[in-house]
Amino acid sequence: MATIINADTSDGLKLTSDTSGQIDFQSAGSTKATIDTSGNLKFDSGFGSVGTAYGCRAWVNFVGTGTVSINASGNVSSITDNAVGNYTVNFTTAMPDDDYSVNGSTSSAVNNNVFIAGATVLPTTSAYRFNTRASSNVNLDMPIVNVNFIR
């Protein structure tokens, strides 16, 4: 059961209330999104049924050459320039644990063989250290570095 907010095609807004603590958002009586009692946001968004949405908890786009700077970010307090092609992303709000997933990419007009590689420092809830590394196994500074953190 749930408290239901339904955009009905005949009657417009229809509200159904209960004490379950869950909220369902419906269109024409079909559930399109839910917030359950654990705080999980679930949505349909073309899947055919509602499923839990796993959010990008932090992201950053920064310049890794010349004067290192952050172009844009979310939930990132800073990056630390440790060495050539070696950076740490520091989170504003810590991750719930250190089991988050990381992906990223680099952009350069002259080198498309540079990937994001883990550093010899384990992830923590407050920061993640990594390398931008060429296929020749050498760290390189890159003009644009993008990193995303999913949990």
């Binding site: 050459t65 010349g66 004067t67 307090s77 800073s78 440790n82 060495a83 500074d141």
Partner: protein, 62 residues
Amino acid sequence: MRIIYETSDGGVAVIVPAPEYLLTHTMEELAAKDVPAGANYEIVEDSVVPSDRAFRGAWTWA
């Protein structure tokens, strides 16, 4: 502004603040959060950090 600090191997790390973070926090607050505990650090102007990174590995804390 930047925060520079001495790394455990005698090198220098540079903390680059996120503009978003500085909307609601100070550089001192950032240093308290992101500089490793016990490390020597200094808050400096951007221009203090060399933009030529050719010898980035040779930067040392003086």
